[in-house]
Each structure stands twice: as C-alpha cells, then as structure tokens.
C-alpha cells in the first residue's frame, strides 16, 4: 500500500495566499515549477523571472519599500549568486524571504551541483540569514508559514531549504 502523495507545492501556495504575498521572483527550477505555474495564473500576483538570483534581492527589497511582500524562489546553486546582495536587507532590516530547492545532496547525479549545494546553508547562515530545513513533505506548509512569519514579523532574512530527498533527485539517463 502506497501513501497518498502530499502536494507540497500547493501547501506553499496556500501560505503565500494566506500571508498576502504578491511579488514572486524566481530563477526557474524544476522543483519550483508547479508553484511558479500556479502563481502565474493569479491576477493579483506579480511574477518576475530573474536573470540571476541576486537581482531578486533587489527586486524584493524595492517591493517592500513600496509596501508589498514577496518571496524569492531559487535553486541551491543560485544561493551563491545572492550573497553580496544580502547586504541590502541586512543593512536596512528589510524582510527577505526565500525558498530554496536543494541539489547536490540526496542521490545527486551531477558532481557540479555538490559544491554549492553543500555550502548553501552555511553560506546563508554566514550572512546572518536564519535557515530552516525541511525533509518531509507533510511539514512543508507548516515550516514555510512559520518561516515567512518570522521574516516579516521580525524584519529578518529567512530561508527555507527544501531537501533533495523531499523534491526527488533528478535522474540522469
């Protein structure tokens, strides 16, 4: 008997809706594809496809200056591109919330993904970002909701790392 598959992208979407997120920035990632598609369908969400993840730090900071809440969706390899950008939310205490789909760990098949994947959490923490990690699909909604509240209630930078075990390793064949 197989357990029913938990629709964790919908759980994230429900949090974004419940907490009035309207600015969705992303560098596309297969792990985030279902969530991105869902956000694009919403008339009251501005979805911006970025050229590099650091750009998203600027866009979301500008959105907050204009009174809007947003989230940066990215892959672990993109974390490295954001690092100097975190000077902006750190120096200003603009809340910055990001959800990171992990590579370079569970059953990874591409050795080029492991350096940044393994470093993503420690590098974010070195910048002062509070990092949550989710391993189980049934916990995604609860953790993302709590992490987003922490970011916007206390004006911090907060990241949720969605583990590769949860997302499913990409198959190379």
């Amino acid at each position: 008997m197989t357990e029913p598959k938990i629709d964790w992208p919908s759980a994230i979407f429900d949090v974004l809706r419940a907490q009035n997120f309207t600015q969705i920035c992303h560098v596309p990632d297969a792990g985030h594809a279902a969530l991105i598609d869902r956000c694009v369908e919403q008339n009251d969400m501005t979805v911006i496809s970025l050229t590099t993840e650091e750009e998203g730090i600027g866009v979301l900071s500008g959105a907050w200056l204009g009174g809007k809440k947003g989230v940066l969706l990215m892959q672990s390899s993109g974390v490295g591109n954001t690092i100097n950008g975190f000077a902006l939310p750190m120096a200003t205490r603009i809340p910055l919330f990001t959800i990171v789909t992990m590579r370079g760990e569970w059953a990874e098949g591409n050795p080029w993904q492991t350096p940044m994947g393994q470093a993503a959490g420690p590098v974010l923490e070195a910048m002062g970002v509070t990092v949550f990690r989710v391993e189980r699909p049934e916990e995604v909604g609860e953790v993302v909701g709590a992490a987003a509240q922490l970011a916007f209630n206390t004006h911090q930078s907060v990241a949720v790392l969605l583990s590769q075990r949860l997302i499913g390793a990409k198959e190379f064949k």
Partner: protein, 194 residues
C-alpha cells in the same frame, strides 16, 4: 567620448522637476551623494552597498507603486554589474520606471579606473538591445531639458546614458543608517507605521 557635463547639474535638472509622486533610487557611491546634495528628500533611497541592485530595486518599487514615477540614477560601473536586469525591465514593461546612467567612464570610488564605457561599450545601445524602447545618449547641455521631460513624462521604461565629467565632489550629509533610510522612505510613501 569623455563627458563634459557636470553630474550635479544634470541631477539638479532632473530632480528640480520632481513631485511628491516621484521616488528616486540612487546607486552606490557618488550617485547616492549626488541626490542627497542636490535634492534631499525622504523619497530618496541612496545605496551605499549592494552594487548592481539599483535597477532591480527600481523594478520592485515600480511594480509595487504603479502610480508613482520611479527614477533610478546610477553610475556606469554599478549598471555594468547588473546588466541582466535590463532584460527584466524590458520584459516587465514598467510604464513608470526611468533609468539614468551618469556615465563618467570610471570606477570613481576606487581610484578612477576606466570602465568598458571608456572604450567600446555603449550602455544605451545595450538597453535598446535588451528591449527597452525609449533610450538615448546625452552629451550636450542643450539636450538636458528634453532628457528631464522624457524621464518624468514619457511612458516607460526609459533609459538614458548621460556622459559626465570624472570629478571628485564633496560627499555631503548622507544617511548612513540603512534602517532609518528605509523607515523614512516607507513612512512617507506608505504612511507612518506601515
């Protein structure tokens, strides 16, 4: 082509036309000092870090405040670090966003090393190639009033490069506390306590 225009003359010509619906983002270094010296306002947000993020901040602000005019004033070196964002500007077609590059062809804060715009690189041509439809290069004083009119009134996104002198100017009084800078800006744009 080395510029002959004085940067603060250009900034004054641009921002003397501002209204309470004009929000100004300035890139790190000299541009942040320029707007503070010439047109101090809580509706200014001048960066002292985050190089390459002036245009992205303008994108986020322009999407969040579609009824306000958002003007990004930054330097050639700062723009070169975030060139990809020009494609985002073009794709989003932000009608209320204007970008002005004060191009002195130098990394002015670090010893005046030449940037690629001292050589073959043309930022306005790159903006046009990114898909921004209103672009231009300003080199003469006679072009300044038309520049200011376009920056404030034309349907955006608009992008101009203004060739300016490489000159050292006083930094003046600038808000170093990012938290205060952000809170002042949000209070005046969104209302106290937002």
């Amino acid at each position: 082509m080395t510029g002959t225009l004085h940067r603060r003359y250009v900034v004054d010509a641009l921002l003397s036309r501002r209204s309470t619906d004009t929000l100004v983002i300035a890139g790190l270094g000299q541009c942040a000092y320029d707007i503070a010296a010439v047109s101090p306002s809580p509706r200014n947000f001048g960066l002292l870090g985050g190089m390459g993020l002036a245009v992205p901040i303008g994108i986020g602000l322009a999407t969040a405040q579609p009824d306000k005019r958002v003007i990004v004033i930054t330097g050639d070196g700062e723009m070169l670090m975030g060139l990809g964002s020009l494609t985002t500007v073009a794709t989003q077609q932000l009608r209320n966003l204007a970008i002005v590059i004060l191009d002195n062809e130098r990394f002015g804060e670090t010893g005046g090393q030449p940037t690629p715009t001292a050589g073959p690189t043309n930022l306005s041509a790159m903006a046009a190639a990114a898909g921004i439809q209103v672009t231009g290069m300003v080199t003469e004083e006679s072009q300044i009033q038309a520049l200011a009119a376009s920056v404030h009134e034309d349907s955006g996104p608009v992008f101009y490069t203004v060739k300016v002198l490489f000159e050292s100017l006083p930094m003046g009084t600038i808000e170093l506390d990012g938290v205060r800078l952000k809170d002042q800006f949000r209070d005046v744009v969104l209302g106290e306590g937002a």
